[in-house]
């Protein structure tokens, strides 16, 4: 029997200033059965929602008015004022060049989705966030989901041992 995801149990926040892009994500989530979906245009509005409601997953555009998506992510992950440092964030962006992906990854993004995207790509990111949660890593310079997705054999010294 296949495992299923009941999207009605999850609350979403879409942060996107582009009306059409936000609508596409909203329609997709609504079709999947999500009943609690909030839409805002700016990070400041997003923080207001995150402080007043229980949100499980944030879907955020990189290019936003005022504070951009990366700054928003930085505050979420690293600020003492963050409403929830562990919240999964799916970053949507038309900046799909490698340097953008690595920048977002190093700031603690959970999933990255390059635009233009299709339904399959969006769904796979949602599944990954919900069904395959990753452990978090906290170092002096990074706080976010484990960036090592694949477990490969490594013969070198273990520099990630737990604190003694």
């Amino acid at each position: 029997m296949n495992a299923k995801i009941d999207f009605s149990k999850i609350s979403f926040l879409i942060v996107d200033g582009d009306k059409i892009s936000a609508q596409v994500v909203y329609d997709t989530l609504a079709y999947l059965g999500a009943s609690h979906i909030q839409r805002v245009k700016t990070p400041n509005d997003a923080f207001d929602v995150l402080r007043s409601e229980k949100i499980d997953i944030v879907v955020c555009e990189w290019r936003l008015r005022g504070m951009d998506g990366l700054e928003f992510l930085d505050v979420m992950r690293n600020s003492t004022n963050s409403p929830n440092r562990f919240i999964p964030v799916i970053m949507l962006t038309a900046h799909s060049e490698h340097r953008y992906v690595t920048t977002a990854r190093d700031l603690g993004i959970t999933e990255f989705l390059a635009k233009p995207f299709n339904a399959k790509a969006l769904y796979s990111r949602l599944v990954s966030v919900i069904a395959r949660p990753r452990r978090f890593i906290n170092t002096g310079t990074y706080f976010g989901p484990d960036r090592r997705r694949r477990q490969v054999q490594f013969d070198g010294p273990d520099r990630r041992s737990l604190d003694e």
Binding site: M1, N2, A3, K4, I5, D6, F7, S8, K9, I10, D18, K19, I20, S21, Q23, V24, D27, T28, Y31, L32, G33, D56, I57, R63, F86, P88, T93, A94, K115, P116, F117, N118, A119, K120, L122, Y123, V127, V129, I130, A131, P133, R134, R135, F136, I137, N138, T139, G140, D146, P157, R159, R160, S161, L162, D163, E164
Partner: protein
């Protein structure tokens, strides 16, 4: 301890013990998984091709809105560019609006089966990136990009088009490279 190696005849210094980084590993948050993943209700984790097709139809629902809204934005932006050609004070706004429009079209064109628009918008976005203003020739380059986008949209040219359309994309990119300087 430093010692003399009789085999190689060298003084050997011991390796510095590696400093362990202070790393805190926090177990994965499984609350979402516990709440939403089950075997009874919802969508399969691995969707069938038919289910994916249905989901793609949902995405395509906004296709008409895209054509209507972007069509209007292209016309508005073109108007701003033409005004900016005759009025230097309007150039900053025209360039900023062009940049926003280029990003939107680049982001959404391919989603709605207009990858050709994404290609042209990418060229336009590169051209206007980090500019606060543009000279007359540069404004004309932006206008040519906008006109091309409008033609594709009005003609509903989905997919990557024929060799003619691809040649147009290449020509626009070359034109943008030629008039790239000065970048102010």
């Amino acid at each position: 301890m430093t010692h003399y190696d009789w085999g190689s005849g060298a003084i050997v210094k011991p390796e510095e013990p590696m400093k362990k980084k202070n790393v805190q590993i926090i177990p994965a948050q499984t609350d979402l998984k516990r709440r939403a993943v089950n075997f009874v209700k919802g969508f399969d984790i691995n969707l069938s091709p038919e289910q994916l097709e249905e989901l793609e139809k949902v995405v395509q629902r906004s296709s008409e809105t895209f054509v209507r809204d972007i069509g209007k934005d292209l016309m508005d932006c073109r108007r701003m560019i033409i005004q900016a050609l005759g009025d230097k004070t309007k150039r900053q706004d025209a360039v900023a609006t062009s940049s926003d429009l280029a990003y939107s079209v680049k982001a959404l064109g391919g989603t709605f089966q207009y990858p050709l628009m994404t290609q042209i918008a990418k060229s336009m976005e590169n051209f206007v990136a980090d500019r606060t203003t543009a000279n007359e020739k540069q404004l004309l380059v932006i206008q040519l990009h906008i006109d091309s986008l409008y033609v594709i949209l009005a003609g509903r040219v989905t997919g990557f088009g024929s060799t003619v359309e691809q040649a147009t994309v290449a020509a626009l990119t070359k034109l943008a490279e030629r008039y790239e300087q000065p970048r102010e």
